[in-house]
Symmetry: C2
Subunit: 425 residues, 2 copies
C-alpha cells in the first residue's frame, strides 16, 4: 500500500470512496463497543475474588490494632508495609486511605487551598493566580482536578523519556507555578516510563514557589503486562537527596490490582509532610476502612506476592494490547497516517492521527457504535492543539469485541485522514 | 446521706477525708479503663460478622450496575434505597459515600470553602469572617471540623427539647452566620431528642445568609437501646415545606450498625443540592467503595431489617447504660452534686458536676486509670464555661470493667465536689 500523503488526487479519491464504503458497512452492523475507560475486564476483576474469602475476623488484630473498630488514622501498619514494599519507600512514609487515589490527590490539593501546604505562606485560596504543569497527553481526571480549583493549566509536551524538562525547569521559575502532575511509569496514555535523567531533573527542580507540589501518581507501579517487573527509583529519596524532601507526594492504589473502585489507596511523603497532613486529616476523619486494608494486606502481602498476581492480569491484558498493535501495524502503518507508542505496562495505547483528525475520527467511531475517550481529553481543558491524540483503552471489551472495535477504529482513521487530505489537495 | 451543700465545715471535712481515702484505694488498684469514646464493644461488632460472608460475587450486578468496577458516583441504587427507607427520604435524595459520615460532613464544608454552596455568592474562603452555631454540649469532632476552617464558633445552650431556638432565631439574622450543627436524635452527648416544635422552628429559620448550611447529623437515627424505634420527622420535607429546600444536608452511617470505621455513610439533600454536589464531587472521585455498599445493602436490606439487628446491639448496650445510671442514682444523687440525662438511645450519658468541677474530676479519674473524654471537649474550643460537663461513654468496656470505672468515677465526682465546697467555705 502507498502512503496516503503520496497519493495523487485520483488515488486519494478512490481510497476515500473505499474507506467510506467500508465505514458504511461497519455502521450497518449496529455495534455497541466501548474502548473509553481503563477498566479491567470482568474476568480480570474475578482474579481477586478469593480476597473476599480471607478470614479477616480471626486476623482482626494486627500490630495491636483492631481493624474492626475506630482509630488508626494513617492506616493499618500491615497495609502500610505492603505499600512501602511495593513502592520502595519506608512504612512510616505511607498513609493508607480509602478506595481511591484520585480522592487522596484531590484532597491534598483541596488542603493546599483551604489550609496551605507545609511550606505555604498562606492558603492557596488567598492567592490571585495559580498555575499548574500538565505534561500532555496526560490523564484527563488529573487535569480536571486542577481545573476544578480554577488553576491555569500549562501544557508541557511529553517526549519519549518523559516531560520536556527544559521547559519545566524554565517555567517553575514563576512563583505562581505551584505544582505538576506526573505519571512516571507507563504514563497515561502514552505508556512512557520516565528516564532516570528526567526523574533526576525533576527531583532537582528549583521552583520559585516554596510550596511547589509534585504530584507523583505511580498508578502503574507494578502493572507490567509485557515482560518482567521494571524497577523504578524512589522519588521520595531522590527529592530528599536533592534538597527537596517536602516537594513530593507519591500516590498509588490497588484499583487495578484487586477491585476497581473498591481497592485501597495510599500516599507517601516526607516525615514532615506526614505530620502536617495527619494533623489536617485528623479533623476530617477518624480512620479509613481498615477491614478493607486488612483484607488487601493479607491477600497481596508484599511486592513479590503482588507481582505474581499481576502476572495473571497480564495474561488477560497482553493479548488485547497485541490485537490493538496488530491492527495498527497492518491497517495504519503502511498508509503513514498515524503513530503510536508500544507500551509494556499500564492500560492505554496513545494514538496520534495526522494533525486535525482526532475529533473527526472519534466522531466517526462514535457514530459507528464505538465509544472512545473524547478527543482532546488527554490535554488540559480538553483541547488538543494538534487535534491528533486519541486514547485507546483495550482492557475492558472481550477479545472478539475488541477486534471488531479496532477494525472500526482503523476504518475511521483512514476515512478521516482521506477526508482531510482530500480537502487539502 | 445529706446533700453535700448542706453540710457544715466539719461534716464536709469528714466527707472529704473519706472520699480521699476511697480515691487512694481506687488508685492503688492500678486500673486501666477507657470510657472515652463511643465505640461499640467487640461483642457488638461481632454481631455483623455474617455480613462478611454474604455472596457479593453472585450479586455483583444490581440495577444494571456492576459493583465490581468503576462508576456510579452517587452510590449503588440498592444502597441508596436502604438509606432512604431508614431515614424516611427518597432514594434520589441519597448520595452514598465511603466509610465515614464525618468525612462527608468535612467535605461538604470544604466545598463551601473552595467552591461555595449552591446559593453562595462566592466561595467561603473569600469571606472575611464566618460564624457557626454549635449547640453545646455537643460532639467534639463536629466542633473541630468548623474550627479547622477558622470559623468563629458560637455556643448555643441545649435545652431538654433541643437547642435554644430563641437564641438561634436571633443569631441567624447575622449574615456571617453560615450554618449550624445538629444531632437531632439522641444528641451527642446529652441523648436528647429534639422536640417537634424545635424541629419545626429549625426548618422555618430565616437566616440572613442565603447559603446557610444546616448540618443534620442523624447519627443515631435507629439507635434505640431502650424501648422501641422512635419515629422521627423528615427534615428534608420540613425544610422544603418551609421554603428552605436547599438549606439542609442530612448525614448518617452504619458505623454503629455494622463496623465502626468500615461501614457505609451517606448524605441526603434536595434535588438541586444533589445536582450541584455531584458536579463538584465528580472532579474528586470516580466512585466510592460499591462492594462495601452492596454488602451492607444485602445484609441490612431496609429499616425494618436493620431495626431487628439494632435490637441485638441494644442487648449489649442497655445493661451498660443501666450500670452507669445505677451508680449515679446510688452514689451521686443523694449528695446532690451532679445531674444527668437518661437517654433511651445513642452512645452517651451526659453528666454535669457542680460548676467548676469537671476538669478536676476528669484529672482525678485519669490519675486513677480511668480515661474519659477530656473535660470541655463537648464545648466549642474545648472550653466549658461552667467547667461542669463530662461525657460518659459506657459502650466499649466489658460490664465488670465498666462497674469498676463507674465506681472510680463516682469517687472522683465526690472528691472533686468536696474539694471545691471546702475551698468555698
Amino acid at each position: 500500500m502507498t502512503s496516503l500523503k503520496q497519493m495523487d488526487r485520483a488515488e486519494l479519491q478512490m481510497f476515500y470512496e473505499a474507506a467510506l464504503k467500508e465505514y458504511e458497512s461497519c455502521k450497518a452492523k449496529g455495534l455497541k463497543l466501548d474502548m473509553s475507560r481503563g477498566k479491567p475486564s470482568r474476568a480480570q476483576v474475578a482474579l481477586s475474588n478469593d480476597m473476599l474469602n480471607i478470614d479477616v475476623v480471626s486476623n482482626a488484630v494486627t500490630d495491636g490494632i483492631d481493624a474492626f473498630n475506630y482509630g488508626g488514622l494513617d492506616g493499618l501498619p500491615i497495609c502500610r508495609r505492603f505499600f512501602a514494599d511495593t513502592l520502595g519507600v519506608k512504612p512510616e512514609q505511607v498513609f493508607v486511605g480509602g478506595n481511591a487515589s484520585l480522592q487522596l490527590m484531590y484532597d491534598t490539593i483541596a488542603k493546599a487551598y483551604t489550609h496551605g501546604l507545609l511550606h505555604s505562606e498562606k492558603p492557596w485560596s488567598k492567592l490571585d493566580k495559580i498555575k499548574w504543569l500538565c505534561p500532555a497527553p496526560g490523564y484527563d481526571r488529573h487535569f480536571k482536578v486542577t481545573q476544578a480549583f480554577g488553576m491555569e493549566l500549562i501544557t508541557v509536551p511529553m517526549n519519549d523519556d518523559g516531560p520536556d524538562m527544559d521547559m519545566v525547569e524554565e517555567v517553575v521559575k514563576d512563583p505562581a507555578v505551584k505544582g505538576m502532575w506526573c505519571v512516571p511509569k507507563y504514563s497515561n496514555p502514552d505508556g512512557i516510563v520516565y528516564s532516570d535523567e528526567v526523574i533526576d531533573r525533576i527531583a532537582h527542580l528549583k521552583p520559585a514557589a516554596a510550596d511547589f507540589l509534585l504530584m507523583w501518581d505511580n498508578a502503574y507501579c507494578i502493572h507490567e503486562f509485557d515482560g518482567e517487573f521494571r524497577p523504578f527509583r524512589d522519588i521520595l529519596t531522590l527529592c530528599s537527596e536533592a534538597g527537596n524532601p517536602d516537594m513530593v507526594f507519591e500516590f498509588a492504589s490497588t484499583s487495578k490490582i484487586t477491585f476497581p473502585g473498591s481497592g485501597v489507596a495510599c500516599f507517601a511523603c516526607s516525615k514532615a509532610n506526614m505530620a502536617y497532613m495527619k494533623k489536617l486529616i485528623s479533623a476530617q476523619t477518624i480512620s479509613f476502612d481498615k477491614i478493607n486494608q486488612l483484607r488487601h494486606a493479607l491477600f497481596l502481602k508484599d511486592r513479590a506476592t503482588a507481582l505474581v498476581h499481576m502476572k495473571k492480569h497480564a495474561e488477560f491484558l497482553k493479548p488485547k494490547f497485541d490485537i490493538v498493535l496488530e491492527y495498527l501495524e497492518r491497517e495504519i502503518k503502511p498508509l503513514d497516517i498515524g503513530r503510536w507508542h508500544t507500551p509494556k505496562g499500564g492500560y492505554f495505547v496513545s494514538f496520534f492521527t495526522i494533525p486535525g483528525c482526532a475529533k473527526r475520527t472519534n466522531q466517526l467511531a462514535k457514530e459507528a457504535g464505538v465509544v472512545m475517550t473524547a478527543a482532546g481529553a488527554t490535554y488540559p481543558y480538553g483541547i488538543d492543539p494538534e487535534d491528533s491524540n486519541l486514547r485507546i483503552a483495550p482492557s475492558y471489551p472481550p477479545v472478539e469485541e475488541l477486534k471488531e472495535a479496532m477494525s472500526v477504529f482503523c476504518t475511521c482513521v483512514k476515512l478521516a485522514a482521506a477526508e482531510k487530505l482530500l480537502a487539502e489537495k
